[in-house]
Amino acid sequence: MVQAAVQSANSVDQSDDRPWVGRSIERVEDAALLSGGGRFIDDLGVAPGTLHATILRSPHAHADILSIDVEAAKRLAGVAAVLTGEDVKAVTTTLVVGVKAPVECWPIAMDRVRYVGEPVAVVVATDRARAEDAAELINVEYRPRGAVVDPLSALVSGVPVLHDGFPGNLASERAFRYGDPEKAFAEAPHRFSIDIRYPRNSCTPIETYGVVASHDAGEDAYEVLANFQGPFSIHTVIARALKVPGNRLRLRTPPDSGGSFGVKQGVFPYIVLIAAAARVTGKPVKWIEDRLEHLTASVSATNRATTLSAAVAADGKILALDWDQVEDCGAHLRAPEPATLYRMHGNMTGAYDVRHVKIRNRVVVTNKTPTGLNRGFGGPQVYFALERLVQRIAISLGLDPLDVITRNLIDAGTFPYRTATGALLDSGNYQEAVARAVAQGRLAELKARRDEARAQGRLYGIGFTAVVEPSVSNMGYITTVLTAAERRKAGPKNGAQATATVGLDPVGSVTVHVASVPQGQGHRTVLSQVVADVFGLQPKDIRVNTEIDTAKDAWSIASGNYASRFAAAVAGTAKLAAERVAGRLARIAASQLNVEAADIVFAKGFVASKHNPENRIAFSRVAALSHWSPGSLPDDAGQTIRETVFWTPPELTPPDEDDRINSSLCHGFIFDFCGVEIDRTTLETRIDRYVTMHDCGTILHPGMVNGQIRGGFAQALGAALYEEYAYAEDGSFLTGTLADYLLPTTTEVPEPEIFHMETPSPFTPLGAKGVGEGNCMSTPVCLANAVADALGVADITLPLVPARLAELVRGDEPPPPAGGATTAPVREGDRRLRGEGQASVKGAPEQVWAMLLDPATLQSVIPGCQRVDKITDTHFGADVTLGIGPVSGRYRADVELFDLDPPRAVTLRGGATGALGFGNAEGRITLAPDGNGGTKLAYSYDAAIGGKVASIGGRLLDGATRVIIGQFFTALARKAGGGGAAGGGFSLFALLAKVASLFGGRR
């Protein structure tokens, strides 16, 4: 028989007495997911009459909204409502901002847009396609402002300011000092520094955001289903924004969620927005984010500019660190930011024993998508600087990078170890982990491969990284952004409440509920193992529910799926809850079996006497007793129907008066090394071998731990080699499709060699630590170190785009052959399109001049022009429908002429807008007689194109510009008397309007 019967998750090993925890049993989640039976948010039905929303988003990085005309959209059949900022403001209030400053943070633009993709209007209609039809009919008038996209440039005086409440775009600045860094730097023989720019990227789950919201006007209560991941501290933010107490916001999550990696925390502003739409329409409203929206405007990790300096002894020992971090949180400081910057605060010395630390933290706002949770959360940014610096120290001192790492590692005998900045590292043996990795991962062999490759003239390098991976965040770490005085005033915040409920039903079967909101990690399986062990049952006997319903379930602000808290905190709490029930069951069984409770053991479905295993009673019988015969329970037993445990580790204290903060409960250790080869022709980086050693404490499910490591590794590889949310200097977003934001696929991701060591955490019930985020912290910098080693270069920027590496290693380019250079438009680094050219036109300059100023002529030579309106002699408007190939769109263009010097020269300035984007440009045209009765026309231009077309068609923008120029010139020359169309041509109308009609996409 080809197909075998479905095996229950644990039918193997039934006779085995080993605990279930620690085994790679098959997942209970999988049968449904593999058969199309998953229940993701968009798989679930909705109430009859549910409306569908789409969101009109800003094409501009920074602009004032002068007006929004929604009338045509509202008139379209099927449209129930169109909400603008004002409508949302009428029923909500601003989202709270994480620093003390007079700024607001709305889920939709009020009178100004601050990033490409910021919501401007919400259209609610009977179906999504109609809502999108209507959105195209909304006419928004913008007045563009200058944009800032670079975190350091944002701080320069005189640049555009995003929020008046953040003067100079600075949202927060704090300085910290631990030990005596000044003295250490003064006395150290060496000082090394590194400047790094960590790029923007995101773990981009394949399932996008989804929200279904309804409003009960009678009780003024909201009910929301969203694939939100937590932390549920955000529930308070949402309720406050919706102006209801927490008990009137029922927030539920669907049974399955298609990946999150932090990203789905960022759905919360849309919960407010869609809930507002539900309130306004009086109907349930559903919104499923599409991929273009997700890439452009969901959320991003922070990009960061860091200067890190180290005081170093001659042997490579790091004596002090001096951090200067400028964190770019995008256009709004959305909760819980600036948490990305402070999540690592206790861990700024990494895996190293460094007692003197100085930190300057600045948080800036720029015209980019607001940031939020993302796998690794602050770790990649910190370790990229720290571990690049360690390599630099080694190179500068002529030492082996691995020797510098091992010289600085925290000593195994010192755990729990308090770092200079306040983290209490729970356990570990870093030296042993490194030694095992070097041996098991065959470092010597890798070095031999490098030597051999180099001897053959190949580009081969080795990189190393040592990383401490924090997990189970202290809910109080973010208050480190406040001064001690501000914290005293606000009251202490700390802890990390985890929640688990174990229930026994009237037939004695076991149900577990946790507020962990998994997004694919298999929590249900692991919890069934944990609880089965406590009760002496099999995992299949335990049913686990991980959906959350804030109206009915036990939860707290720390609930959710983030900071790698499941194994360490949630699974441990489930164990505690089960043990509490088991303790009572033991007392009941003891009375029935006439033994002491201490003699009771749970095994193989029975509750039995340890000394006399034949003296036993079926688990289900004892378990059901509370339901059927509470009167027969011993007096001290209490009920065994349901037990909820809240657990928070005492180690997670608030920041102290000196700003020391134990920012996380657990600290795993990772040591990675890798060999890479770089192709001399293409400069593509190929990973030859990647070794990753993990100590994440007790391993609950080896298959899932390795799954987390592989998944994190693949995302980190993406961050290192491919992925960047790229912005132009004008704030245009350039990577709006999955053909531009490049995720690694099977042909790019090798299998890492994974090794483990288990040093249990003394602080968690199961000894487990988090493991999900470590490679996102270690792998990008490990690969960068290897590439730096291969190329022998000092500065490496991620992602490792081959063309960027070419700039680092290739010398001067062969010059073009004499006289052969072309005059293609040059795209500057700022992405403005600049160009110049000339052409011959039959007809005298006076004739050409008249044509340029004549609406009728213009109308006839601009392709697709329906109408030219002469507003004044030197000011024109035009309606054009333009297309290149199948791409077409309607545009409104507006052009003014300046500096007229008839018939010799004129400057044109103007812009065009349409559904696909906008353009603005300035150009100068000069006309001169060619001596044969014709005209020599010369032009130069400078144009910028933005909006949808720049996000999804950037690859083709410049080429299309040339197409348009050519088309216009052909028509102009023909009109002017049949001149040849040689060379180039120029029309601002055409350029402005038509260039905005490009496309992107993929075969």
Binding site: T735, D740, T747, A824, R955, G959, R1003
Partner: protein
């Protein structure tokens, strides 16, 4: 990301297609594999009033070898051609280039002619057509015409096809004893080419065709060149293509690849 509204015409004859094109002109689009067009519709970049589905027309789904030419119909999917038993023998360059087109999941639906109609300057099929010097077979309600590859591609996403014309197929020459080489550099496997090069030995020397750099795939014929003469020719060609920067590569990087890969491929086909 839902398409705008359009009429859908399931053509049952070529006459249906030509009538539809004649009536609707530029507002009609032919739907063949749809692997580019549908993405553009979902993004609302394209807004045709009418889609004409030609994939039920058996007469367009033929691959015919006639003497020293191969005729490939408009309905022939990329996977169909890859599976054609004569492919390696008759069209070795196509056999090399086709696996680079998208992914197996898109080649199974995407058509050869659809890719040509789309005229993306980075796509492999337009490059191959130009490298081989093939012809595009166009037809409207009144007449048929053939357009040489080099005249067909008029610019980025622009072709010599008139709004009322259907690409009925293409004609590719079978070049006896020709040695061909193809190489492509993209960020990831299956992505649009940053640079794609095709080289062929010709009766007088060698031909190199380059995609991904200029607005249209561009071919250049040289006599047998060697050493610095070849380097100079490649350098001049690299500059003439007018490479530009984008988020995936710089103009300089593209020129480097043209020079280096061009030299490698020419070496391969001439050895």
């Amino acid at each position: 990301m839902k398409p705008p509204a359009f009429d859908y015409l399931r053509a049952e004859s070529i006459g249906d297609v030509l009538d539809g094109l004649a009536q609707q002109g530029g507002d009609a689009r032919v739907l063949a594999g749809g692997q580019s067009l549908m993405a553009m519709l979902n993004m609302r970049l394209a807004k045709p009033k009418l889609l004409i589905d030609i994939m039920r027309l058996e007469e367009l789904r033929k691959i015919q070898r006639k003497g020293d030419t191969v005729i490939i119909g408009a309905g022939v999917r990329q996977a169909d051609l890859l599976a054609w038993p004569d492919l390696v023998d008759a069209l070795p360059l196509v056999a090399l280039a086709l696996p680079w087109v998208g992914h197996m999941q898109t080649r199974s639906r995407g058509t050869i002619c659809g890719s040509l109609a789309h005229a993306d300057p980075s796509a492999e099929m337009p490059l191959t057509l130009v490298a081989l010097g093939g012809e595009v077979l166009l037809r409207n309600a009144k007449r048929r015409r053939r357009v040489a590859a080099k005249d067909f591609f008029a610019g980025m996403m622009l072709t010599a096809r008139s709004d009322d014309e259907l690409i009925e197929g293409i004609s590719l020459p079978v070049i006896k004893g020709s040695r061909a080489a193809f190489r492509e550099v993209a960020r990831r496997h299956g992505d649009f080419a940053i640079v794609a090069c095709a080289a062929m030995k010709t009766s007088t020397g060698v031909r190199l065709a380059v995609g991904g750099v200029a607005d249209v795939p561009t071919a250049r014929d040289w006599p047998r060149l060697e050493g610095s003469a070849l380097d100079d020719a490649l350098n001049a060609f690299a500059y003439e293509l007018g490479a530009r920067d984008d988020v995936h590569a710089t103009a300089r990087y593209r020129r480097d690849l043209v020079r280096m890969i061009g030299r490698d491929l020419i070496g391969e086909v001439l050895q």
